[in-house]
Amino acid sequence: MAIERKPEPKWVMVVDADRCSGCQACVVACQAENNVPLNTDAIFNQKRAHEWIRIERYWVSGDPDKRPDEVDFKNLKVKFLPLMCQQCENAPCEPVCPVYATYHNDQGLNVQVYNRCIGTRYCANNCNYNVRFFNFWEPVWPETLRNQLNPDVTVRSRGIMEKCTFCVQRIRRGDRLVKRENRDFKDGDVTPACVQSCPTGALAFGNIKDEKSAVAKMAHDDRHYRLLEEQGTGPNVIYLKKVDLHAAEDKAHE
C-alpha cells in the first residue's frame, strides 16, 4: 500500500540586486527574529560578528585604469550584495561534518542541528560563501532585551555553528497552516524576517515548485544568476543582476 504524500515544497529566495539600497533592515530583522547574538564593538573587532544575512559592499571604480581607492568619489560606484546561506543543493558543508550536524531536509533546506554540533568548524571552512557563524563566546543579552528573544528559536550556546535557516520556524508555522486548511502552499504563507522587512522589495521568498509563485517567475528573469555557480554547489538563492544604466551609457560612448 502506497502512502499518498503531498509533494514537498522547495524553498527559494530571490534577491534583486537592482532594488537593494543597502539599508541593512534585513540584517536587523534577522538579528531580532533569530536570536542572533549581539555584535558588540569588541566582537566586531575580533571579526567574529554574526550576521546571518549581511550586505556585502563592493566599491567599483568608474575609471577602468584606477583602483576604487584611487578615484574621486564622483567616479565611485557602489554595489550591494545581500548574502545569506545559499541553502546549496550540493552543499560542501554537509559531507565534512563528522556528526551529521548539518544535512539536507526534504524541503531543500540545509539545516543545522545545534544539539549534535561539536564545533569542529570544518563546515565553515568548506563554505564558499562564508555564511556560517561560530559561537566563539557564550552569547549574552542585556536584561532589557530579555523579552525580545524569540521563543520559537533556540538560543545557541558557545562552541557551535549557526547560520541562516530561511526562518525555519516560520516555515514550520506555514506547514501547520497548510495542513490545517488542507491546501497547497501559496505566496505569503511563509515570509522570512528579511523578506518581510525589506523596504524596496529586493527580496522574495517562495516555493519554486509552484509555477504560480512569484519566485518561479523571477527565476526565469533574464537577469538571473546564482552566486559562484561555477563551484557546482547549486545554490537555492537566485540573484537578479544590477542593471547599470551608466555602464550601458559608457559603453554606448565608446
Binding site: Q46, K47, R48, A49, E56, R57, Y58, L81, L83, P92, P95, V96, C97, P98, V99, Y100, R116, C117, I118, G119, T120, R121, Y122, A124, N125, N126, C127, N128, Y129, N130, R132, F133, F134, N135, F136, W137, E138, R158, G159, I160, M161, L227, L228, Q231, G232
Partner: protein, 464 residues
Amino acid sequence: MQDRVVLGHTPQEVDARINRELLTNVLYTERRYWIIVGFLALVVALAGGAVGYMVNKGIGVSGLHRPVFWGFMITNFVFWVGISHAGVMLSAILRLSQAEWRRPATRAAEIVTVFALMTAILFPIIHSGRPWRTMYWAFPYDFARGIFPNVRSPLVWDPTAITTYLTSSIMFVLVALIPDFAVARDRTKGVAKAIYSVLAMGWRGTPRQWRLQIVAGFLLSALILPVFVSVHSIVSWDFGIAQSVEGWHSTVFAPYFVIGAVHSGVSAVVTVMIILRWLFHWENYITKDTIDSLGRLLIVVATAWFFFFFIEILYSIYTLEDAELGLRKMQFFEAPYSWLFLTFILTGYFIPVPLWLFKNVRRSFKWMFITTILVNIGMWIERFLIIVPGLARKQGLTFSWSTYHPSVIEILLVIGSFAFVSMNILLISKVIPLIPIYDIKEGEILKDEIKIGKVTVPAAKREE
C-alpha cells in the same frame, strides 16, 4: 671509513657493559635529569592551564575568527602526526631491509612516534567547540541516539586512522621491548621487578621465544607500513577534499604529506637521539656512523619531499585560475606570508640539504642537531602556510578576506606540545631502555671485518 667502538674483549665483558650502560637511566637517575623533567613539567602544566582556560571560556580566547576557523592548533596537529611517521619509517623499513645501522635508532624513533601521535590527537579534540561532546565523534558511535557518524567526513577517517596507527605502533614497541623487559626484570627488586616480570611475559630467551619475537617483529613491520602510508594520506585529505578552499583541494596532497612527514619525522629522531646521547652518555652507541647514515637518508627523503613540494606548486599554477594564482602570489610575495615562505624554504630545504652533502657536517653532532632543528622549524611553517592563507583569502567573495594572528593561548599550546612530547620521552626512559639492548648485542655478535686489499673494513655477518 667507519670507526667502530670496541666495547670489550670477551663476549661476557661486552654483554655486561651494554647492560650497564644502557640500563643506567632505568636503574639510577642523574640530578640533571630531574631538573630537565621538572622544567618540562612546568611548561606542560602551563599549557594544561591554557587548555583549561580555553575549555572554560570558549574558543574565543584563540585568534581564530571568520573565515580563518583553523589555525595554530590544526597546524600543530598536522605537524605532530608528521613527526610520528619517523618511527615506522626508520624502524619498520630499516628492519625489513636489515640495515645494520638502524640498531641504536629504532626504539627512540618508535617512542617518538607513540608520543607524537598521542599529542597530535589531543589537538583536534581541544580545538573543537565542545570538547566534552567530541567523544561522540572520536568513539564512532552515538549509542544514545543511534546516529551513525558521517563516514563521508575526513574527521571520521582521522580518528580511525590515527587510533589504528597508535595501537599498532604501541604493539610494535612492546614486541621489541620484551627481551629488554626481561633484562630489566633480572636487575631490579621489589615492585619494579614484579611489574617488569609481567611486562616480560615469561621471557627466558629460549630459541623458540627468539624465533617468535623476530617473526612478530617482521610481521608487524610489514603490516604497519600500509597503515603508515594511510595515516598521513588521510590527514592530508582533511584539506584535499575541501573543495571550497583554494590551496587545499589538491590531488597531490597525500604523497606530498607522507613524504613531508617522513622528512620532518626523521629529522626529529636525529634531534632526539643527539639530545639523549648527551643526556644519558650514550657515546658508545649513538656514534658518528649512526647520524652519518641518517644524514644520507635525510638527503634522499628531503629531496623527494622537495620534488612533491615543487609539483604541488606547479599543478596549482598550471590551472591558470585567477583564484589559485592570487593565492600563490600572496604566499610567495606578500608579507607576512612571504617572510614565512622564505624562512620555510630556506630552513626546510636550502640550508640543511646542501650542508648534509658534506661528510664533516653529517658526522658532527652539533651540526646535525642544528640542521635537523631547522628542518622542523621549516616543516612547521609549511603546514601553517598550507592551512591558513587559503582560509584567509577564500576566493570568490572578497568582502570577508582576513588574516590571522595567533593568541597567547595558542602559542602556549604549541610550546606546551613540544614540552609534553619531550617530557613523556624522558619519563618513559626511566621505565624502558631507549636503545634496544638485545638489538645492540645482536649487532655485536654479528660484527665482522673484511679485508679488502690492505684495508680492513667493518662488516656484519648475516644469518640466512
